[in-house]
Protein backbone atom coordinates (compact mmCIF):
# COMPACT_ATOMS: atom_id res chain seq x y z
CA UNK A 1 0.00 0.00 0.00
CA UNK A 2 1.53 3.26 -1.05
CA UNK A 3 1.11 6.64 0.60
CA UNK A 4 -1.21 7.64 -2.23
CA UNK A 5 -3.57 4.78 -1.36
CA UNK A 6 -3.47 5.76 2.30
CA UNK A 7 -4.05 9.47 1.69
CA UNK A 8 -7.89 9.35 1.46
CA UNK A 9 -7.97 7.48 4.78
CA UNK A 10 -6.89 10.70 6.45
CA UNK A 11 -10.52 11.76 5.91
CA UNK A 12 -12.12 8.29 5.74
CA UNK A 13 -10.78 7.12 9.11
CA UNK A 14 -12.70 9.76 11.11
CA UNK A 15 -15.75 9.42 8.85
CA UNK A 16 -15.98 5.64 9.28
CA UNK A 17 -14.79 5.86 12.88
CA UNK A 18 -17.63 8.20 13.83
CA UNK A 19 -20.15 5.46 13.05
CA UNK A 20 -18.41 3.06 15.44
CA UNK A 21 -17.83 5.63 18.16
CA UNK A 22 -21.51 6.63 18.13
CA UNK A 23 -22.60 3.23 19.46
CA UNK A 24 -19.79 2.69 21.96
CA UNK A 25 -20.96 2.65 25.58
CA UNK A 26 -19.47 4.57 28.49
CA UNK A 27 -16.97 7.38 28.45
CA UNK A 28 -13.41 6.08 28.24
CA UNK A 29 -13.88 3.74 25.28
CA UNK A 30 -15.31 6.32 22.84
CA UNK A 31 -12.53 8.72 23.76
CA UNK A 32 -9.83 6.07 23.25
CA UNK A 33 -11.16 5.06 19.84
CA UNK A 34 -11.50 8.71 18.80
CA UNK A 35 -7.93 9.34 19.90
CA UNK A 36 -6.70 6.36 17.91
CA UNK A 37 -8.53 7.52 14.78
CA UNK A 38 -7.26 11.09 15.08
CA UNK A 39 -3.70 9.92 15.71
CA UNK A 40 -3.72 7.77 12.59
CA UNK A 41 -5.14 10.70 10.60
CA UNK A 42 -2.41 12.96 11.94
CA UNK A 43 0.31 10.44 11.05
CA UNK A 44 -0.96 10.09 7.48
CA UNK A 45 -1.25 13.89 7.26
CA UNK A 46 2.36 14.29 8.41
CA UNK A 47 3.57 11.78 5.82
CA UNK A 48 1.55 13.50 3.07
CA UNK A 49 2.91 16.90 4.11
CA UNK A 50 6.50 15.59 3.97
CA UNK A 51 5.79 14.17 0.51
CA UNK A 52 4.27 17.35 -0.93
CA UNK A 53 6.66 19.92 0.58
CA UNK A 54 9.08 19.31 -2.26
CA UNK A 55 6.50 20.56 -4.74
CA UNK A 56 4.90 17.22 -5.62
CA UNK A 57 1.15 16.98 -6.23
CA UNK A 58 -0.72 13.83 -5.20
CA UNK A 59 -3.88 12.93 -7.03
CA UNK A 60 -6.20 10.11 -5.93
CA UNK A 61 -9.14 9.30 -8.23
CA UNK A 62 -12.11 7.90 -6.31
CA UNK A 63 -13.50 4.64 -7.67
CA UNK A 64 -10.80 4.71 -10.36
CA UNK A 65 -12.75 7.21 -12.43
CA UNK A 66 -10.22 9.50 -14.11
CA UNK A 67 -10.28 13.05 -12.70
CA UNK A 68 -12.41 15.32 -14.88
CA UNK A 69 -15.30 12.84 -14.63
CA UNK A 70 -14.76 11.29 -11.22
CA UNK A 71 -14.00 13.03 -7.94
CA UNK A 72 -10.33 13.33 -7.22
CA UNK A 73 -8.38 14.18 -4.11
CA UNK A 74 -5.70 16.54 -5.23
CA UNK A 75 -3.14 17.43 -2.61
CA UNK A 76 -0.28 19.88 -2.93
CA UNK A 77 1.69 21.69 -0.27
CA UNK A 78 -1.17 24.11 0.47
CA UNK A 79 -3.77 21.39 1.21
CA UNK A 80 -1.30 19.18 3.00
CA UNK A 81 -0.30 22.04 5.30
CA UNK A 82 -3.89 22.84 6.30
CA UNK A 83 -4.85 19.15 6.55
CA UNK A 84 -1.89 18.50 8.81
CA UNK A 85 -2.90 21.43 10.99
CA UNK A 86 -6.47 20.09 11.34
CA UNK A 87 -5.46 16.48 12.00
CA UNK A 88 -2.70 17.41 14.44
CA UNK A 89 -4.87 19.91 16.34
CA UNK A 90 -7.61 17.29 16.60
CA UNK A 91 -5.19 14.85 18.22
CA UNK A 92 -3.63 17.47 20.52
CA UNK A 93 -6.95 18.93 21.71
CA UNK A 94 -8.29 15.41 22.31
CA UNK A 95 -5.53 14.94 24.90
CA UNK A 96 -7.10 17.83 26.78
CA UNK A 97 -10.67 16.61 26.27
CA UNK A 98 -11.61 13.81 28.70
CA UNK A 99 -11.55 15.75 31.99
CA UNK A 100 -13.25 18.79 30.55
CA UNK A 101 -15.92 16.84 28.65
CA UNK A 102 -16.61 14.71 31.72
CA UNK A 103 -17.91 17.65 33.75
CA UNK A 104 -19.77 19.31 30.88
CA UNK A 105 -21.60 16.47 29.20
CA UNK A 106 -23.81 14.10 31.09
CA UNK A 107 -24.28 10.43 30.31
CA UNK A 108 -22.32 8.50 27.74
CA UNK A 109 -19.93 10.29 25.43
CA UNK A 110 -20.21 8.14 22.31
CA UNK A 111 -22.44 10.50 20.33
CA UNK A 112 -20.43 13.56 21.38
CA UNK A 113 -17.16 12.12 20.10
CA UNK A 114 -18.90 10.78 16.99
CA UNK A 115 -19.97 14.33 16.16
CA UNK A 116 -16.44 15.53 16.84
CA UNK A 117 -15.08 12.95 14.39
CA UNK A 118 -17.63 14.10 11.79
CA UNK A 119 -16.34 17.66 12.14
CA UNK A 120 -12.77 16.43 11.71
CA UNK A 121 -13.74 14.32 8.67
CA UNK A 122 -15.61 17.25 7.14
CA UNK A 123 -12.76 19.69 7.64
CA UNK A 124 -10.22 17.24 6.23
CA UNK A 125 -12.51 16.46 3.28
CA UNK A 126 -12.78 20.16 2.45
CA UNK A 127 -9.03 20.56 2.41
CA UNK A 128 -8.17 17.41 0.46
CA UNK A 129 -10.73 17.39 -2.31
CA UNK A 130 -10.13 18.68 -5.80
CA UNK A 131 -13.81 18.87 -6.70
CA UNK A 132 -15.78 22.06 -6.18
CA UNK A 133 -19.09 20.44 -5.29
CA UNK A 134 -17.40 18.00 -2.94
CA UNK A 135 -16.18 21.03 -0.97
CA UNK A 136 -19.81 22.04 -0.41
CA UNK A 137 -20.81 18.58 0.81
CA UNK A 138 -17.94 18.33 3.28
CA UNK A 139 -18.52 21.91 4.35
CA UNK A 140 -22.05 20.98 5.35
CA UNK A 141 -20.95 17.76 7.05
CA UNK A 142 -18.53 19.65 9.26
CA UNK A 143 -20.93 22.56 9.81
CA UNK A 144 -23.92 20.42 10.77
CA UNK A 145 -21.84 18.44 13.24
CA UNK A 146 -20.42 21.62 14.73
CA UNK A 147 -23.89 23.15 15.21
CA UNK A 148 -24.83 20.07 17.20
CA UNK A 149 -21.57 20.20 19.19
CA UNK A 150 -22.13 23.85 20.08
CA UNK A 151 -25.66 23.06 21.23
CA UNK A 152 -24.11 20.67 23.78
CA UNK A 153 -23.07 23.72 25.83
CA UNK A 154 -24.36 23.76 29.40
CA UNK A 155 -25.70 27.30 29.24
CA UNK A 156 -29.09 27.45 27.53
CA UNK A 157 -27.76 30.30 25.42
CA UNK A 158 -25.65 27.70 23.61
CA UNK A 159 -28.86 26.66 21.84
CA UNK A 160 -29.50 30.18 20.59
CA UNK A 161 -25.87 30.54 19.52
CA UNK A 162 -26.05 27.24 17.65
CA UNK A 163 -29.31 28.21 15.93
CA UNK A 164 -27.92 31.55 14.78
CA UNK A 165 -24.76 29.87 13.57
CA UNK A 166 -26.94 27.38 11.67
CA UNK A 167 -28.86 30.14 9.93
CA UNK A 168 -25.80 32.19 9.01
CA UNK A 169 -23.66 29.16 8.17
CA UNK A 170 -26.32 27.75 5.85
CA UNK A 171 -26.74 31.07 4.08
CA UNK A 172 -22.96 31.18 3.62
CA UNK A 173 -22.78 27.62 2.32
CA UNK A 174 -25.70 28.26 -0.06
CA UNK A 175 -23.95 31.36 -1.41
CA UNK A 176 -20.97 29.13 -2.05
CA UNK A 177 -23.25 26.68 -3.86
CA UNK A 178 -24.65 29.46 -6.07
CA UNK A 179 -21.08 30.38 -6.98
CA UNK A 180 -20.39 26.79 -7.96
CA UNK A 181 -23.63 26.69 -10.00
CA UNK A 182 -22.46 29.71 -12.04
CA UNK A 183 -19.04 28.15 -12.56
CA UNK A 184 -20.62 24.90 -13.70
CA UNK A 185 -22.97 26.71 -16.09
CA UNK A 186 -20.18 28.50 -17.93
CA UNK A 187 -17.52 25.80 -17.89
CA UNK A 188 -19.39 22.50 -17.63
CA UNK A 189 -16.97 21.07 -15.10
CA UNK A 190 -16.61 20.85 -11.33
CA UNK A 191 -13.02 19.68 -11.13
CA UNK A 192 -10.87 22.51 -9.76
CA UNK A 193 -7.89 21.85 -12.03
CA UNK A 194 -10.24 21.65 -15.01
CA UNK A 195 -11.98 24.86 -13.96
CA UNK A 196 -8.62 26.62 -13.73
CA UNK A 197 -7.89 25.60 -17.32
CA UNK A 198 -11.21 26.71 -18.77
CA UNK A 199 -11.85 29.91 -16.85
CA UNK A 200 -9.20 32.22 -18.38
CA UNK A 201 -11.02 32.04 -21.74
CA UNK A 202 -14.19 33.32 -20.07
CA UNK A 203 -12.78 36.18 -18.05
CA UNK A 204 -15.22 38.60 -19.68
CA UNK A 205 -18.27 36.64 -18.58
CA UNK A 206 -20.46 38.28 -15.94
CA UNK A 207 -21.46 34.90 -14.53
CA UNK A 208 -17.80 34.22 -13.68
CA UNK A 209 -17.58 37.55 -11.88
CA UNK A 210 -20.74 36.73 -9.94
CA UNK A 211 -19.36 33.28 -9.14
CA UNK A 212 -16.22 34.74 -7.56
CA UNK A 213 -18.29 37.23 -5.58
CA UNK A 214 -20.67 34.55 -4.26
CA UNK A 215 -17.81 32.23 -3.32
CA UNK A 216 -15.86 34.96 -1.52
CA UNK A 217 -18.92 36.14 0.41
CA UNK A 218 -19.97 32.57 1.26
CA UNK A 219 -16.54 31.69 2.57
CA UNK A 220 -16.27 35.10 4.24
CA UNK A 221 -19.24 34.05 6.38
CA UNK A 222 -17.59 30.78 7.39
CA UNK A 223 -14.32 32.62 7.93
CA UNK A 224 -15.92 35.28 10.18
CA UNK A 225 -14.50 38.14 8.14
CA UNK A 226 -15.63 41.36 9.76
CA UNK A 227 -19.17 42.24 8.71
CA UNK A 228 -20.01 38.52 8.57
CA UNK A 229 -18.53 37.54 11.94
CA UNK A 230 -21.68 37.84 14.08
CA UNK A 231 -22.11 34.11 14.64
CA UNK A 232 -18.63 33.58 16.02
CA UNK A 233 -18.48 35.26 19.46
CA UNK A 234 -21.60 33.59 20.82
CA UNK A 235 -20.83 30.23 19.26
CA UNK A 236 -17.36 30.19 20.83
CA UNK A 237 -18.53 31.63 24.14
CA UNK A 238 -21.28 29.12 24.91
CA UNK A 239 -19.99 25.94 23.27
CA UNK A 240 -18.47 23.29 25.56
CA UNK A 241 -14.85 24.21 26.27
CA UNK A 242 -13.39 21.35 24.32
CA UNK A 243 -15.47 22.28 21.25
CA UNK A 244 -14.32 25.90 21.50
CA UNK A 245 -10.71 24.81 21.84
CA UNK A 246 -10.92 22.68 18.71
CA UNK A 247 -13.06 24.95 16.52
CA UNK A 248 -11.05 28.06 17.37
CA UNK A 249 -7.94 26.40 16.02
CA UNK A 250 -9.31 24.85 12.87
CA UNK A 251 -12.76 25.78 11.51
CA UNK A 252 -12.08 29.34 10.31
CA UNK A 253 -8.67 28.28 8.98
CA UNK A 254 -10.22 25.74 6.64
CA UNK A 255 -12.67 28.36 5.33
CA UNK A 256 -9.72 30.66 4.64
CA UNK A 257 -8.03 27.85 2.75
CA UNK A 258 -11.09 27.33 0.53
CA UNK A 259 -11.23 31.05 -0.23
CA UNK A 260 -7.54 31.01 -1.17
CA UNK A 261 -7.89 27.88 -3.26
CA UNK A 262 -10.67 29.45 -5.32
CA UNK A 263 -9.14 32.93 -5.56
CA UNK A 264 -5.67 31.70 -6.52
CA UNK A 265 -5.89 28.26 -8.11
CA UNK A 266 -9.35 28.22 -9.70
CA UNK A 267 -9.75 31.84 -10.77
CA UNK A 268 -6.07 32.72 -10.75
CA UNK A 269 -4.51 35.75 -9.02
CA UNK A 270 -4.50 37.73 -12.28
CA UNK A 271 -8.27 37.49 -12.41
CA UNK A 272 -9.22 37.77 -8.74
CA UNK A 273 -6.79 40.51 -7.85
CA UNK A 274 -6.26 42.40 -11.10
CA UNK A 275 -9.53 42.22 -13.04
CA UNK A 276 -11.66 42.40 -9.89
CA UNK A 277 -10.78 44.60 -6.89
CA UNK A 278 -10.59 41.70 -4.44
CA UNK A 279 -7.33 43.02 -3.03
CA UNK A 280 -8.81 46.35 -1.94
CA UNK A 281 -12.00 44.78 -0.59
CA UNK A 282 -10.12 42.20 1.46
CA UNK A 283 -7.63 44.73 2.78
CA UNK A 284 -10.34 47.13 3.97
CA UNK A 285 -12.33 44.33 5.60
CA UNK A 286 -9.19 42.85 7.16
CA UNK A 287 -8.15 46.16 8.69
CA UNK A 288 -11.68 46.83 9.89
CA UNK A 289 -11.78 43.33 11.41
CA UNK A 290 -8.45 43.81 13.15
CA UNK A 291 -9.63 47.05 14.72
CA UNK A 292 -13.23 46.23 15.52
CA UNK A 293 -12.36 42.76 16.83
CA UNK A 294 -9.59 44.04 19.11
CA UNK A 295 -11.67 47.03 20.18
CA UNK A 296 -14.66 44.95 21.26
CA UNK A 297 -12.37 42.39 22.90
CA UNK A 298 -10.96 45.15 25.11
CA UNK A 299 -14.31 45.62 26.85
CA UNK A 300 -15.52 42.05 27.26
CA UNK A 301 -16.00 40.73 30.76
CA UNK A 302 -16.57 37.14 29.60
CA UNK A 303 -13.18 35.56 28.89
CA UNK A 304 -14.32 33.22 26.13
CA UNK A 305 -16.14 36.04 24.35
CA UNK A 306 -13.06 38.20 24.67
CA UNK A 307 -10.92 35.53 23.01
CA UNK A 308 -13.60 34.99 20.37
CA UNK A 309 -13.54 38.67 19.41
CA UNK A 310 -9.79 38.47 19.38
CA UNK A 311 -10.20 35.62 16.86
CA UNK A 312 -12.15 37.98 14.60
CA UNK A 313 -9.16 40.34 14.77
CA UNK A 314 -6.69 37.54 14.08
CA UNK A 315 -8.67 36.43 11.02
CA UNK A 316 -8.11 40.01 9.87
CA UNK A 317 -4.32 39.49 10.08
CA UNK A 318 -4.55 36.40 7.89
CA UNK A 319 -6.78 38.09 5.31
CA UNK A 320 -4.45 41.10 5.32
CA UNK A 321 -1.62 38.83 4.22
CA UNK A 322 -3.85 37.44 1.47
CA UNK A 323 -4.92 40.87 0.26
CA UNK A 324 -1.32 41.76 -0.62
CA UNK A 325 -1.42 38.87 -3.13
CA UNK A 326 2.35 38.40 -3.10
CA UNK A 327 4.38 35.34 -2.20
CA UNK A 328 5.49 36.87 1.09
CA UNK A 329 1.95 38.02 1.88
CA UNK A 330 0.53 34.55 1.29
CA UNK A 331 3.37 33.02 3.29
CA UNK A 332 2.47 35.33 6.15
CA UNK A 333 -1.19 34.32 5.84
CA UNK A 334 -0.39 30.60 5.96
CA UNK A 335 2.09 31.15 8.76
CA UNK A 336 -0.47 33.01 10.83
CA UNK A 337 -3.07 30.37 9.99
CA UNK A 338 -0.83 27.79 11.68
CA UNK A 339 0.48 30.03 14.46
CA UNK A 340 -2.89 31.44 15.41
CA UNK A 341 -4.20 27.89 15.79
CA UNK A 342 -1.43 27.27 18.35
CA UNK A 343 -2.01 30.59 20.16
CA UNK A 344 -5.80 30.41 20.41
CA UNK A 345 -5.80 26.75 21.35
CA UNK A 346 -3.41 27.47 24.21
CA UNK A 347 -5.45 30.48 25.39
CA UNK A 348 -8.77 28.66 25.26
CA UNK A 349 -7.23 25.64 27.01
CA UNK A 350 -6.02 27.86 29.85
CA UNK A 351 -9.44 29.51 30.14
CA UNK A 352 -10.97 26.02 30.04
CA UNK A 353 -8.80 25.06 33.03
CA UNK A 354 -10.09 28.09 34.93
CA UNK A 355 -13.69 27.23 34.08
CA UNK A 356 -13.08 23.63 35.12
CA UNK A 357 -12.24 24.79 38.64
CA UNK A 358 -14.32 27.92 39.13
CA UNK A 359 -17.23 27.20 36.80
CA UNK A 360 -17.16 30.78 35.57
CA UNK A 361 -15.48 32.62 32.73
CA UNK A 362 -16.14 36.11 34.09
CA UNK A 363 -13.25 38.46 34.61
CA UNK A 364 -14.49 39.38 38.10
CA UNK A 365 -14.39 35.78 39.28
CA UNK A 366 -10.79 35.59 38.16
CA UNK A 367 -9.56 38.14 40.68
CA UNK A 368 -6.69 36.94 42.81
CA UNK A 369 -6.75 33.51 41.19
CA UNK A 370 -3.14 33.78 40.04
CA UNK A 371 -1.79 32.62 43.40
CA UNK A 372 -4.22 29.74 43.70
CA UNK A 373 -3.88 28.40 40.15
CA UNK A 374 -0.37 29.59 39.21
CA UNK A 375 0.33 27.03 36.49
CA UNK A 376 -2.92 27.68 34.63
CA UNK A 377 -2.61 31.43 34.68
CA UNK A 378 1.08 31.39 33.82
CA UNK A 379 0.16 29.33 30.76
CA UNK A 380 -2.47 31.95 29.91
CA UNK A 381 0.04 34.77 30.33
CA UNK A 382 2.65 33.06 28.15
CA UNK A 383 0.11 32.31 25.40
CA UNK A 384 -1.02 35.93 25.81
CA UNK A 385 2.53 37.09 25.06
CA UNK A 386 2.26 35.07 21.89
CA UNK A 387 -0.94 36.76 20.73
CA UNK A 388 0.54 40.18 21.45
CA UNK A 389 3.54 39.22 19.32
CA UNK A 390 6.46 39.31 21.74
CA UNK A 391 9.71 38.02 20.15
CA UNK A 392 10.51 34.31 20.66
CA UNK A 393 6.80 33.45 20.29
CA UNK A 394 4.94 32.32 17.19
CA UNK A 395 2.83 35.49 17.27
CA UNK A 396 5.98 37.50 16.63
CA UNK A 397 6.96 35.33 13.66
CA UNK A 398 3.52 35.88 12.04
CA UNK A 399 3.64 39.60 12.54
CA UNK A 400 7.24 39.80 11.39
CA UNK A 401 6.31 38.19 8.07
CA UNK A 402 3.25 40.41 7.75
CA UNK A 403 5.51 43.45 8.25
CA UNK A 404 7.97 42.11 5.68
CA UNK A 405 5.13 41.53 3.20
CA UNK A 406 3.70 45.01 3.78
CA UNK A 407 7.05 46.70 3.23
CA UNK A 408 7.75 44.56 0.18
CA UNK A 409 4.39 45.60 -1.28
CA UNK A 410 5.25 49.25 -0.58
CA UNK A 411 2.45 49.57 1.97
CA UNK A 412 4.59 50.50 4.96
CA UNK A 413 1.63 52.27 6.59
CA UNK A 414 0.14 48.86 7.28
CA UNK A 415 2.93 48.41 9.84
CA UNK A 416 1.42 51.24 11.88
CA UNK A 417 -1.92 49.40 11.96
CA UNK A 418 -0.19 46.18 12.98
CA UNK A 419 1.52 47.92 15.89
CA UNK A 420 -1.68 49.61 17.06
CA UNK A 421 -3.71 46.38 17.04
CA UNK A 422 -0.88 44.59 18.84
CA UNK A 423 -1.08 47.23 21.56
CA UNK A 424 -4.81 46.62 21.77
CA UNK A 425 -4.06 42.91 22.23
CA UNK A 426 -1.62 43.86 24.97
CA UNK A 427 -4.44 45.71 26.71
CA UNK A 428 -7.01 42.91 26.67
CA UNK A 429 -4.47 40.31 27.77
CA UNK A 430 -3.17 42.66 30.47
CA UNK A 431 -6.66 43.06 31.93
CA UNK A 432 -6.75 39.33 32.62
CA UNK A 433 -3.25 39.24 34.07
CA UNK A 434 -4.01 42.27 36.20
CA UNK A 435 -7.16 40.66 37.56
CA UNK A 436 -5.53 37.32 38.20
CA UNK A 437 -2.24 38.40 39.74
CA UNK A 438 -2.58 41.97 40.99
CA UNK A 439 -6.09 42.04 42.45
CA UNK A 440 -6.88 40.60 45.87
CA UNK A 441 -9.14 37.58 46.07
CA UNK A 442 -12.62 38.86 47.04
CA UNK A 443 -13.65 38.11 50.60
CA UNK A 444 -15.58 34.91 50.96
CA UNK A 445 -14.44 33.52 47.61
CA UNK A 446 -13.84 29.81 47.72
CA UNK A 447 -10.28 28.52 47.83
CA UNK A 448 -9.40 27.07 44.40
CA UNK A 449 -7.00 24.26 43.73
CA UNK A 450 -4.73 24.04 40.71
CA UNK A 451 -6.32 22.48 37.62
CA UNK A 452 -5.76 18.71 37.31
CA UNK A 453 -2.65 17.49 35.51
CA UNK A 454 -4.75 15.89 32.77
CA UNK A 455 -5.72 19.42 31.71
CA UNK A 456 -2.47 21.18 32.58
CA UNK A 457 -0.09 18.91 30.65
CA UNK A 458 -1.79 19.35 27.24
CA UNK A 459 -2.15 23.08 27.91
CA UNK A 460 1.54 23.46 28.66
CA UNK A 461 2.38 21.26 25.69
CA UNK A 462 0.61 23.70 23.33
CA UNK A 463 2.15 26.68 25.16
CA UNK A 464 5.60 25.18 24.71
CA UNK A 465 4.84 24.64 21.00
CA UNK A 466 4.15 28.39 20.86
CA UNK A 467 7.72 29.00 21.96
CA UNK A 468 9.30 26.13 20.05
CA UNK A 469 7.91 27.31 16.71
CA UNK A 470 8.73 30.87 17.72
CA UNK A 471 12.43 29.95 17.91
CA UNK A 472 12.77 27.21 15.32
CA UNK A 473 10.84 28.47 12.33
CA UNK A 474 12.33 26.16 9.71
CA UNK A 475 9.36 23.80 9.60
CA UNK A 476 6.56 26.39 9.75
CA UNK A 477 8.09 29.02 7.47
CA UNK A 478 9.26 26.37 5.03
CA UNK A 479 5.84 24.73 4.89
CA UNK A 480 4.02 28.07 4.69
CA UNK A 481 6.25 29.19 1.84
CA UNK A 482 5.76 25.91 0.00
CA UNK A 483 1.98 26.27 0.50
CA UNK A 484 2.02 29.84 -0.80
CA UNK A 485 4.17 28.74 -3.71
CA UNK A 486 1.78 25.93 -4.57
CA UNK A 487 -1.16 28.36 -4.66
CA UNK A 488 0.72 30.81 -6.85
CA UNK A 489 1.50 27.95 -9.16
CA UNK A 490 5.27 27.77 -9.06
CA UNK A 491 5.50 24.49 -7.22
CA UNK A 492 6.99 25.97 -4.09
CA UNK A 493 10.39 26.65 -5.61
CA UNK A 494 10.08 30.42 -5.18
CA UNK A 495 12.81 32.43 -3.45
Amino acid sequence: MTLLDLMPFMMLAPLIGSGFVAVLPGRATPWAVTMLVCLSSAIIAAAVLAETLGGATMSYPFGNWPPPIGIEYRVDAANAFVAFLVAAMAAVTLLWAPKSVAVEIQGRHGTFYALFLLVVAGLLGITLTGDAFNVFVFLEISSLASYALIAYGQDRRALLAAFRYLIMGTVGATFFLIGIAFLYMVTGTLNMADLAERLPAMSDNNAVRAALAFIVVGMGLKLALLPLHLWLPNAYAYAPNFVTVFLAGTATKVALYVMLRFAFTVFGPDYSFVVLPLSTVLMVLALAGMFAGSWVAMFQIHLKRMLAYSSVAQVGYMVLGVSLATLTGLTAAFLHLFNHALIKTALFMAVGCVIYRTGSARLDDLRGLGRQMPWTLTAFALAGLSIIGVPTTVGFISKWYLVLASIEAGAWWLVVFLVITSLMALYYIWRVIEAAWFSPRPNGAAEMREAPLALLIPTWFVVSLNFYFGLDTRLTVGAARAAAGALLGDGGSAP
Binding site: L160, F163, L190, Q300, S360, R362
Partner: protein
Protein backbone atom coordinates in the same frame (compact mmCIF):
# COMPACT_ATOMS: atom_id res chain seq x y z
CA UNK B 1 -39.02 36.17 -25.84
CA UNK B 2 -35.92 37.03 -23.87
CA UNK B 3 -37.92 37.96 -20.80
CA UNK B 4 -39.94 34.76 -20.92
CA UNK B 5 -36.93 32.74 -22.11
CA UNK B 6 -35.34 33.39 -18.73
CA UNK B 7 -38.48 32.37 -16.90
CA UNK B 8 -36.66 29.79 -14.76
CA UNK B 9 -34.18 32.36 -13.65
CA UNK B 10 -36.88 34.87 -12.72
CA UNK B 11 -38.42 32.18 -10.56
CA UNK B 12 -35.02 31.47 -9.03
CA UNK B 13 -34.38 35.10 -8.17
CA UNK B 14 -37.90 35.65 -6.81
CA UNK B 15 -37.81 32.54 -4.62
CA UNK B 16 -34.32 33.37 -3.45
CA UNK B 17 -35.32 36.86 -2.36
CA UNK B 18 -38.50 35.68 -0.65
CA UNK B 19 -36.52 33.04 1.24
CA UNK B 20 -33.73 35.42 2.16
CA UNK B 21 -36.24 38.02 3.35
CA UNK B 22 -37.92 35.39 5.53
CA UNK B 23 -34.60 34.42 7.10
CA UNK B 24 -33.70 38.01 7.90
CA UNK B 25 -37.04 39.59 8.78
CA UNK B 26 -38.97 36.85 10.56
CA UNK B 27 -38.46 36.43 14.28
CA UNK B 28 -40.08 33.03 14.52
CA UNK B 29 -37.49 30.29 14.25
CA UNK B 30 -39.75 27.88 12.34
CA UNK B 31 -40.33 30.62 9.77
CA UNK B 32 -36.60 31.25 9.60
CA UNK B 33 -36.03 27.58 8.80
CA UNK B 34 -38.79 27.73 6.17
CA UNK B 35 -37.13 30.77 4.62
CA UNK B 36 -33.85 28.90 4.57
CA UNK B 37 -35.58 26.03 2.75
CA UNK B 38 -37.00 28.37 0.12
CA UNK B 39 -33.61 29.95 -0.32
CA UNK B 40 -31.99 26.57 -0.90
CA UNK B 41 -34.76 25.37 -3.22
CA UNK B 42 -34.17 28.35 -5.48
CA UNK B 43 -30.56 27.22 -5.88
CA UNK B 44 -31.75 23.70 -6.74
CA UNK B 45 -33.89 25.15 -9.54
CA UNK B 46 -30.88 27.12 -10.73
CA UNK B 47 -28.88 23.90 -11.00
CA UNK B 48 -31.66 21.92 -12.70
CA UNK B 49 -32.22 24.74 -15.20
CA UNK B 50 -28.56 24.55 -16.12
CA UNK B 51 -28.96 20.89 -17.03
CA UNK B 52 -31.75 21.41 -19.58
CA UNK B 53 -30.69 20.93 -23.19
CA UNK B 54 -33.13 22.38 -25.72
CA UNK B 55 -34.83 19.50 -27.53
CA UNK B 56 -33.08 16.98 -25.30
CA UNK B 57 -34.90 14.00 -23.84
CA UNK B 58 -34.55 12.38 -20.45
CA UNK B 59 -31.03 11.06 -19.96
CA UNK B 60 -31.86 7.37 -20.40
CA UNK B 61 -29.98 5.38 -23.00
CA UNK B 62 -32.37 4.03 -25.68
CA UNK B 63 -32.81 3.79 -29.43
CA UNK B 64 -33.72 6.76 -31.56
CA UNK B 65 -32.69 9.45 -29.08
CA UNK B 66 -29.63 11.51 -29.91
CA UNK B 67 -29.89 14.55 -27.63
CA UNK B 68 -30.04 14.15 -23.87
CA UNK B 69 -30.43 16.60 -21.06
CA UNK B 70 -27.40 16.82 -18.81
CA UNK B 71 -27.96 14.45 -15.85
CA UNK B 72 -25.10 15.71 -13.68
CA UNK B 73 -26.93 18.77 -12.25
CA UNK B 74 -29.77 16.48 -11.17
CA UNK B 75 -27.36 14.29 -9.27
CA UNK B 76 -25.83 17.34 -7.64
CA UNK B 77 -29.26 18.61 -6.66
CA UNK B 78 -30.15 15.23 -5.15
CA UNK B 79 -27.10 15.50 -2.90
CA UNK B 80 -27.92 19.12 -2.10
CA UNK B 81 -31.51 18.15 -1.20
CA UNK B 82 -30.18 15.58 1.27
CA UNK B 83 -27.97 18.26 2.78
CA UNK B 84 -30.97 20.60 2.93
CA UNK B 85 -33.08 17.99 4.73
CA UNK B 86 -30.32 17.47 7.27
CA UNK B 87 -30.08 21.21 7.89
CA UNK B 88 -33.83 21.48 8.33
CA UNK B 89 -33.78 18.58 10.77
CA UNK B 90 -31.00 20.07 12.88
CA UNK B 91 -32.61 23.51 12.74
CA UNK B 92 -35.99 22.20 13.88
CA UNK B 93 -34.38 20.06 16.58
CA UNK B 94 -32.65 23.16 17.92
CA UNK B 95 -35.94 25.06 17.78
CA UNK B 96 -37.57 22.33 19.91
CA UNK B 97 -34.75 22.52 22.45
CA UNK B 98 -35.01 26.32 22.53
CA UNK B 99 -38.76 26.04 23.13
CA UNK B 100 -38.04 23.68 26.05
CA UNK B 101 -35.36 25.91 27.53
CA UNK B 102 -36.99 29.31 27.04
CA UNK B 103 -40.67 28.64 26.46
CA UNK B 104 -40.65 30.63 23.22
CA UNK B 105 -39.12 30.52 19.78
CA UNK B 106 -39.65 34.18 18.95
CA UNK B 107 -36.28 35.79 18.37
CA UNK B 108 -37.53 39.15 19.64
CA UNK B 109 -38.03 37.76 23.13
CA UNK B 110 -34.68 36.03 23.17
CA UNK B 111 -32.24 38.45 21.58
CA UNK B 112 -31.27 40.28 24.77
CA UNK B 113 -30.44 37.09 26.57
CA UNK B 114 -27.65 36.24 24.15
CA UNK B 115 -25.81 39.52 24.40
CA UNK B 116 -26.16 39.83 28.13
CA UNK B 117 -22.95 38.99 29.94
CA UNK B 118 -24.15 39.41 33.48
CA UNK B 119 -24.91 35.73 33.95
CA UNK B 120 -21.83 34.58 32.02
Amino acid sequence: MTLLGFFNYWVVVTLMMIGFYCVIARGNMIKKVMGLNLFQTSVFILFVSAGKVVGGSTPILRDGVEVYSNPLPHVIVLTAIVVGVAITAVGLALAVRIQEAYGTIEDDHLGDDLDDDEQG
